[in-house]
Point group: C2
Chain length 384, copies 2
């Protein structure tokens, strides 16, 4: 990954539609939901032309004004091809559209929204690799305890077929990727810079390995350098692409808490590993657990119990089981709050169950699917 | 405390009423709520005579049958006097009656009930010393981490005027007592054996020191040896005498969880210190936090926040504070569940707030006292 955008890569004949996407993927400041809708309606070629010629209405100008004049589409696509990468767009089968659906519920949040497009490198397909995925994140200043636990959790999850999503930073992130790779599992690194920029530099070898065996993705076009707001935007993608995020170690103020906040907004469970109250590297995790912001987990089994699909638990005694015994976590709490007669709104269910409303919204379709809940125009009820 | 019941102590002239109590305190298998009521109604002398002569109805016989023939009252009181101890009965001003009120709500629980009487040794008065008290308990197989954290918590609480209640066992218990003594604070050791039996033997010096500077108490008459069921009964007293109990370290199966269970039954908050997920000595604590059985705490300030009285919190910004900002813990949750119009039952408040019903019952009088809640014959409502 030493190739920069200025290196001469072989010039390839690209599809005009893909060239238009590549142009837009650099011109558009992601996320830009209105632009995404515009492209979905009029197609990338027409929109790209309109952006270049400055013919878009005022409302769209903000997202593109700064970079409309830069057209490095040919060079960007050549470079991606040269390093074995690609541009993934919402039109591609690889686009994990369902992962981004929760953004529809948080459009008022600053910085919320699905990515406009994603630059990717690696043999894994993004939609497939994020079917079952857990984010594992934490402080760069990890302790040996944190790195050890990260290795155990990521390794166990990867062996169990879960993809480990993280941010390729030093400390916990790196330990998570390494452990997943170490057991031949799947891992996705979400960057806050261009895919050609190995950041942090000390992880260039790790990133190369993830690009060979897993998947490296970013919203940012080749050559983009990391910046604080890009890390925050990146965190929302780690949350969106995961069934839940585990914070292994975090200081009192930590980027991991930002990822956790995105999780909550998107209705994904947040988990944290407890640690010694004497260790600065565990203050953030202990605090999140104490404040009820994160569920305490101690093992990969705990993680699957919290974030995994509703399924028969191994420890359910067959003889004594009732149907509802298969419910765990949010689903069990929400089910308990469902009325046997009459209906309740999602807000009422949230109040009664103590489960945040976005997680109630996430649980109800699953409960319906499993035959435990049904809805009509007045609200939700228990299905008996 | 090397005195046994067979040692010759100076013979003292005791009040006949106290001799009757001393006889009953050995004869009655505590807890025995029916016997307590009988004594409250007819007085100890009449009841003692009836027990001795086997004239009690069948329903009372069970609690006394095994030991009705043993009258060592004179010797027991002599011995207690010789070691500077005493028998504390419900008739004495020192009896912390309010501490035992919650037993009225759990009469169906096996082993529940206030003690019949308590044998005590030490300069502190039981009612005074348990005005503000925190139980600190945990595994005998404590790690250096556990002992260190215990020392910090117990020392900080004791300096702050809280009494540290524990069971005088090796490990966490011992560290808690020692730390409270070390800062000149108050500590109460609740034993599962006679007050003359230093158990564990390795703590005879510690017990002597607690008897000199704090308070050693037990339900069991002199000479009683420890037994498993007595440890379990003892745990209920640690819970009853504390505003909340902190488990610092506990293995997967631990006596501390029994103490915690008593806390929940009595409406006292249970707290736990998190620890490394790699340490066997923290598995019980991490599990209790994960299962929602205990609140995670990391400091004495956290403990006071959870178990302390409703009061202005130090971190409440004066300008932005609303009245209800002074509420924390259970009280805040229960307040949120109170209806502004109409009323709700304690059961409904428990369901809505997610706070166990016994803790709802404990919070409501405080909320009423502070002017946040009022009740009529139909239930509770918010006071505006």
């Amino acid at each position: 990954m030493t190739e920069g955008i200025d290196n001469a890569a072989t010039r390839i004949e690209h599809d005009p539609q893909r060239l238009a996407w590549a142009y837009l993927a650099r011109a558009v400041q992601s996320p830009a939901p209105q632009m995404s809708k515009l492209v979905a309606e009029y197609g990338p070629i027409a929109v790209a032309r309109a952006v270049k010629e400055g013919r878009l209405p005022e409302t769209f100008a903000a997202a593109t004004a700064a970079r409309a004049h830069i057209d490095t589409a040919q060079r960007d696509l050549d470079m991606m091809a040269a390093i074995g990468g690609r541009l993934v767009t919402p039109e591609d089968p690889e686009w994990p559209q369902w992962r981004f659906l929760p953004f529809a519920g948080v459009e008022h949040e600053p910085g919320a929204g699905e990515p406009f497009a994603l630059w990717a490198k690696g043999p894994r397909l993004l939609n497939e690799v994020t079917e079952r995925a857990i984010g594992i994140v934490g402080t760069r200043a990890a302790s040996s305890y944190g790195e050890h636990v990260t290795g155990e959790l990521a390794g166990d999850l990867a062996v169990d077929g879960w993809t480990v999503v993280s941010g390729a930073a030093f400390g916990i992130d790196g330990a998570a990727h390494r452990s997943a790779l170490g057991v031949g599992g799947a891992t996705v690194a979400v960057l806050a810079c261009g895919i050609d920029r190995a950041y942090p530099a000390g992880h260039s070898r790790l990133l190369r390995q993830i690009g060979q065996d897993g998947l490296v993705i970013t919203e940012y076009p080749p050559g983009t350098t990391p910046a604080r707001y890009r890390f925050l935007a990146r965190n929302r993608l780690v949350a969106a692409l995961s069934d839940g995020v585990v914070v292994v170690e975090a200081g009192w103020r930590s980027g991991a808490r930002n990822t956790a906040a995105w999780c909550r907004k998107l209705g994904r469970p947040v988990m944290a590993v407890p640690g010694p109250v004497t260790a600065a590297s565990s203050t953030g995790c202990n605090r999140m657990i104490r404040e009820g912001e994160a569920a305490l987990i101690t093992s990969a089994a705990d993680i699957v119990d919290v974030a995994g699909p509703i399924e028969l638990r191994d420890d359910t005694p067959v003889v004594e089981s009732r149907d509802t015994d298969i419910l765990s976590g949010d689903a069990a709490l929400v089910y308990e709050a469902l009325p046997a007669s009459g209906t309740r709104s999602t807000l009422e269910l949230s109040e009664d169950s103590g489960v945040p409303i976005d997680r109630v919204r996430a649980s109800l379709p699953l409960l319906e699917l499993e035959g435990f809940a049904c809805a009509d125009e007045t609200g939700w009820s228990r299905r008996t």
